[in-house]
């Protein structure tokens, strides 16, 4: 088979979007069609199409894994792992990253137009699961002419998708890298998400999700949801080191002062408010509801008669799991549960807990050991 001439094929490149007829059969029993998927590809497929790597993004992530974000101008969210001379390298790999369905960066989600009514789906959008996101990615790969993945890689919710891939498509996955993730959402995970959803739905602007027409979005609720979630991405030690009890400087008082009021006196308050405010500019509140819901329903063992080992029985994939010692959102114990299930099934599995002060967010930050592990694991499959 000849190498695919990428330059002449509009399916490949940056800032792609495709409308696939579907319908996509969903876990709930509903169907979604047509299915829009926004995605990017980097590098070129080799002649035998054996160098394809799918990158899966986290809850509020996007397809811009290794290129500047068109709105914020920031570098790709995983530029430390994906790019020239990185473990995942367009010079060697054909890399695909797609916006998950349910999201708001160009893939079908609650803000999309429902062709049946000519208006936004809003809360009429079907409730999704992580497995549905994976099935939509598989539709995209069909469209791109990709049968098998050399690797599927993700962190956090991206790790949930990566881990789900070999359970649904055992013949399409050669290796699977799951970073700072889990095989199921815990009660604590669900609880934090419920706080976020209630904050959004309690905002008077939410109006049952029908806020698209007048642009009066539930920004206060979404900002609170983001603030609460953001705390779970950081470690206590990290917050203390970054902010401690330091007060926020103001023009009239550069060192800050207690106002004996309810302004953001503390730097950590100011930081969180900023995180919340900047988030509402780039993310849709209804998408936040749908994606957190998908994560809460996520429990791979439950989908396989309660046995996690059974879920991977049909797969020949190699697995690499990485956790971080200060991640209390998806702690090391969750990765160990996966590793034990893989060992029980005789799968080729690697697992390491890396050390980082940064909590769950560590998977996105500078971590030379993570790069070494991912690089070695990917190359190990070629030995």
């Amino acid at each position: 088979m000849a190498s695919v001439p990428l330059s002449q094929d509009s399916r490949f490149g940056l800032r792609r979007q495709v409308r696939l007829a579907g319908p996509l059969q969903l876990s709930s029993g509903a169907a979604l069609g047509p299915v829009d998927i926004a995605y990017e590809t980097y590098g070129a497929m080799n002649a035998d199409r054996s160098n394809v790597i799918l990158i899966c993004h986290a809850l509020t992530g996007d397809q811009y894994v290794a290129s500047d974000h068109p709105a914020t101008g920031k570098p790709g969210w995983w530029w430390r792992l994906v790019g020239a001379d990185k473990p995942v390298d367009p010079a060697r790999h054909f890399i695909v990253c797609a916006n998950v369905i349910g999201s708001c960066m160009g893939s079908s989600g609650p803000a999309s137009i429902d062709p049946a009514i000519g208006d936004s789906y809003a809360m009429r959008f079907p409730v999704l699961t992580i497995a549905d996101m994976v099935r939509a990615q598989a539709m995209l790969l069909d469209h791109l002419g990709v049968d098998r993945l050399h690797a599927v890689i993700g962190g956090s919710m991206g790790g949930m998708q990566a881990l789900t891939w070999p359970t649904i498509f055992p013949d399409r996955v050669e290796s699977c890298i799951v970073i700072a993730s889990t095989a199921r959402h815990s009660a604590q995970n669900i609880a934090f998400h419920e706080v976020g959803r209630q904050a959004i739905m309690a905002d008077p602007n939410w109006r049952g999700g029908d806020y698209y027409a007048d642009g009066q979005i539930p920004s206060a609720g979404l900002a609170v949801a983001r603030m609460a979630a953001h705390i779970t991405y950081l470690s206590e030690a990290g917050l203390t080191e970054k902010f401690g009890r330091r007060l926020q400087g103001r023009p009239e008082n550069p060192n800050g002062a207690k106002t004996f009021g309810f302004d953001a006196d503390f730097q950590v308050e100011s930081y969180l408010r900023h995180q919340g405010l900047s988030f509402v500019e780039r993310f849709d509140a209804n998408s936040y509801l749908y994606i957190t819901r998908a994560m809460d329903y996520y429990d791979i063992a439950d989908d396989h008669g309660g046995s996690l080992a059974k879920a991977f029985a049909a797969s020949q994939a190699r697995f690499c799991l990485v956790s971080f010692d200060t991640d209390w959102l998806y702690p090391t114990a969750e990765s160990r549960i996966i590793v034990h299930a893989l060992n029980a099934g005789g799968a080729q599995a690697s697992f390491v807990e890396l050390s980082s002060p940064f909590g769950h967010d560590a998977f996105l930050l500078e971590c030379p050991e993570l790069n070494r592990v991912v690089d070695g694991f990917l190359k190990g499959g070629r030995a």
Partner: protein, 197 residues
């Protein structure tokens, strides 16, 4: 086989069959696994407690899981490997007897290698010096050593007999050289046993 391997590992590597399935418990940075993979096409898996060792091993393309021999072996199914290997790790486990039981459940055979605490240098050091031996093979002082269950060749043989295990092979090392079986408990610095249930 790689000349840079530790002598006990080199001996194990020579003995393992071509294309065998091997679980290396306490695999360190994966030196033995890599040698077995490259020279004998062995399907090697590792278990290692130290995170930076695991990262190094995975970085060289090996399948290694971070975990503890005392607690994590129970997740491996019966007879899922041809060999389970425990090299220089026995004396660091909380319950060496239970760990060897697990090795013999998971592997059809098990290699166990350990430093012989009854080597004459250690005996003299204890007899004349009255202090816990600090030797080439046991370089740490009593308070910072990872070795919490010092064992001699004769102790180990007694355990094997008591549990009814069979010895398929035994090798003794002094320095980098294989040494005689005669009076191994006195003259061997290091012992390697190949056991089966």
């Amino acid at each position: 086989m790689s000349a840079s391997l530790r002598p006990d590992l080199s001996l194990i590597a020579r003995t393992v069959r071509q294309s065998a399935r091997v679980l290396d418990v306490g695999c360190g940075d994966g030196a033995l696994m890599a040698a077995l993979r490259d020279a004998k096409q062995v399907d090697a898996r590792g278990l290692e407690i130290d995170g930076s060792n695991v990262a190094a091993a995975v970085g060289r393309g090996l399948s290694v899981v971070q975990g503890d021999a005392d607690t994590d072996l129970r997740y491996y199914p019966d007879a899922s490997f041809d060999y389970a290997i425990l090299s220089q790790t026995l004396q660091t486990t909380r319950r060496p007897d239970l760990v060897v039981e697990e090795l013999l459940r998971i592997g059809r055979q098990a290699f166990v290698s350990f430093p012989n605490f009854a080597h004459w240098r250690g005996r003299i050091s204890l007899l004349w010096g009255g202090r816990m031996p600090v030797t080439r093979l046991l370089p740490d002082t009593w308070y910072d050593t990872l070795n919490i269950h010092h064992v001699t060749v004769d102790d180990f043989r007694a355990l094997v007999k008591e549990r009814g295990w069979s010895i398929d092979g035994q090798w003794f090392l002094t320095g980098d050289k294989e040494t005689t079986h005669a009076n191994a408990n006195l003259f061997a610095e290091h012992a390697v046993f190949l056991l089966r249930k």
